[in-house]
């Protein structure tokens, strides 16, 4: 494919259409609006449906309705709208409805900084909805990767019957860069399997392949119940503790068992690294430059970049903590993934933050200065 100047949000639209998304419902918000705009243009051309809804709660509800009827669906928003979607994210996780939610992060909390980047929604993406629930969150760091991970988000959501959150910041959303997109053949497109059992034997919440039962399209003859209440294998509400325990265990096991397929990351210069930077999204790009500059100055730095934030690559980070002298987490918030890395390090190496939450991007110089400080043992132990 020839290289073109492409915007992150436009790449998301292309990825969604290529992955088979044929339904979008949303409410516009900076810095995600170009996704909605693009879907409004593209969907009618491919026989899809686009709806501007009255708010973000309704948007995600509409997407899940479309999904139950057999369409691949997506919505896109930013922090304030993402907050409103939380209730339905829990519903989607519990009722196991495939869908993709894009959160293009801007400065928060509240209306915050509408046009400035941030990575402040990382924990909200994991725990924003109430109750124990499994979730998949992907974090691209370039325009081409937005395309790739959008396709992946649809594939994982179909395979594991779960909402998947595509999480990136304003810069990755708005930046335009030369992008060579991977071929769709190399990424593959997962289509939703349909049940082939007799209708009376259908168990939409049974323990199927990869712990996921096939999801019958509404109207296809299989009658079942969908609810946010704790439910049995047929989808009917239950208070039976054994049935409820089994449901929760299966929901968690499906992502745990699929970890090898779901968890994705990239490492650079890690083999002999004495200080390892953990960074994701746009911060990883500043970190990459800091690593090469550090190496030029004789400081053996490396970069670990999760492409999947949840489930977090905890085993991989633990391995790094055993080999490196220190870990530095560079992120554009007041400290979120840094605590996760600290948990994974299990005391094997000290963990320091390189944090910034003023609406401005982390710079390679800031990260480099932090690396130098950490190596010299000048950083406060408490970070």
């Amino acid at each position: 494919m020839t290289a073109t100047l492409l915007q992150g949000n436009q790449a998301c639209v292309r990825g969604a259409i290529d992955a088979g998304c044929r339904f979008f419902a949303g409410y516009p918000i900076t810095p995600s609006s170009e996704i909605m705009e693009g879907m409004a243009t593209m969907l009618p051309r491919v026989g899809g449906v686009f709806i501007q809804m009255e708010d973000e709660m309704a948007s995600l509800a509409a997407v899940m309705g479309a999904s139950l009827a057999g369409r691949k669906g997506m919505t896109a928003t930013s922090g304030p709208g993402f907050s409103l979607m939380q209730e339905h994210i829990g519903y989607g996780a519990f009722a196991e409805i495939p869908c993709v939610i894009v959160d293009v992060m801007r400065g928060g909390p509240s209306t915050g900084l509408p046009t400035s980047p941030s990575q402040g929604d990382v924990m909200q993406a994991r725990w924003g909805t109430h109750g124990d629930h499994p979730i998949i969150v992907l974090a691209p760091a370039s325009v081409a990767e937005v395309y790739e991970l959008t396709v992946r988000a649809f594939n994982l959501s179909e395979r594991y019957r779960t909402p998947v959150i595509l999480l990136y910041d304003e810069v990755i959303g708005h930046v335009r860069e030369r992008a060579e997109l991977p071929s769709l053949e190399s990424l593959g497109v997962v289509e939703r399997p349909q049940p082939n059992c007799p209708t009376e034997a259908y168990r939409p919440y049974g323990d199927g392949a990869q712990r996921v039962a096939p999801l019958a399209d509404f109207g296809s003859g299989y009658r079942y119940h969908v609810t946010g209440l704790a439910h049995d294998e047929r989808g009917y509400p239950t208070q039976d503790p054994r049935v409820i325990a089994r449901l929760h265990e299966r929901l968690h096991a499906k992502l745990q068992d699929g970890r090898a397929e779901i968890v994705s990351y990239e490492g650079e210069e890690l083999d002999d690294a004495e200080v390892v930077i953990v960074a994701y999204g746009v911060s990883a790009r500043a970190a990459r430059r800091a690593v090469s500059e550090a190496r030029r100055q004789g400081l053996r730095a490396g970069l670990f970049r999760p492409r999947t934030l949840w489930p977090f690559p905890d085993a991989e980070v633990n391995v790094l903590a055993r080999s490196a002298r220190a870990l530095v987490v560079a992120e554009m918030n007041m400290g979120q993934i840094v605590y996760e890395v600290e948990r994974c390090a299990r005391g094997q190496a000290p963990v320091f933050g390189c944090l910034r939450a003023d609406g401005q991007p982390l710079t390679p110089d800031e990260i480099l200065a932090r690396l130098v400080e950490v190596r010299a043992g000048e950083a406060e132990v408490s970070r």
């Binding site: 100047l5 930046v175 860069e177 030369r178 991007p361 390679p364």
Partner: protein, 190 residues
């Protein structure tokens, strides 16, 4: 971290919302890609839709671009006073600054190649409207910096057709080239 060492050309266009700053940067980045280079375009604007500060950062490089922001500007185009005030200190020593002489008063004493042209006035004169000043500025910049070939810039304009038609923008672009030719007595490198 010096930009010269990494083969990056870092450039900022700054002005007010509504002046077409983002579009001018976009055309430049597209021209760079048409010329076979790597390029990024990052825009910054405030919550207001018009009148607030607007800027576009374009990085052009022979290889892949990791960090998306300029560290030291090789060139600045300022179409508003605020665009100059906020950004002039980030221009590297010996860097290029293009300003609209009607809208921007630049104090001296700065170690940059400072070029003031009646950019908006020429847009009004040639196109009958101040809309187009952005593309005039692009012409001036390309003529002075040679950061992309003139042909690539014209190709990018023709492909994007700002405002629905390529012709007025091509005229604006060439008016920018002419401004430089008239001022320094030499045409853009072709």
């Amino acid at each position: 971290m010096s930009t010269a060492a990494t083969g990056r050309y870092e450039l900022r266009l700054a002005g007010k919302g509504g002046q077409g700053i983002v579009l001018a940067g976009l055309l430049l980045a597209e021209a760079a890609i048409l010329a076979g280079k790597h390029a990024t375009h990052a825009q910054t604007y405030g919550p207001e839709s018009r009148g607030g500060a607007s800027k576009a950062d374009v990085i052009i490089s022979d290889g892949p671009i990791d960090y998306l922001w300029p560290s030291e500007l090789d060139a600045l185009v300022a179409l508003s006073q605020e665009g100059w005030d906020r950004n002039s200190r980030q221009v590297r020593h010996g860097g290029l600054v293009v300003v609209d002489s009607e809208n921007v008063a630049c104090p001296g004493g700065v170690d940059v190649e400072q070029c003031a042209f009646p950019i908006t006035a020429i847009a009004k004169q040639r196109l009958g409207t101040a809309v187009g000043a952005n593309v005039v500025a692009l012409g001036v910049l390309v003529a002075l910096s040679h950061v992309v070939p003139v042909e690539a810039a014209e190709q990018a304009i023709a492909a994007r057709r700002p405002g629905g038609s390529a012709e007025p923008s091509l005229r604006a672009f060439r008016a920018g080239l002419d401004l430089v030719e008239t001022a320094v007595g030499k045409g853009p490198r072709r």
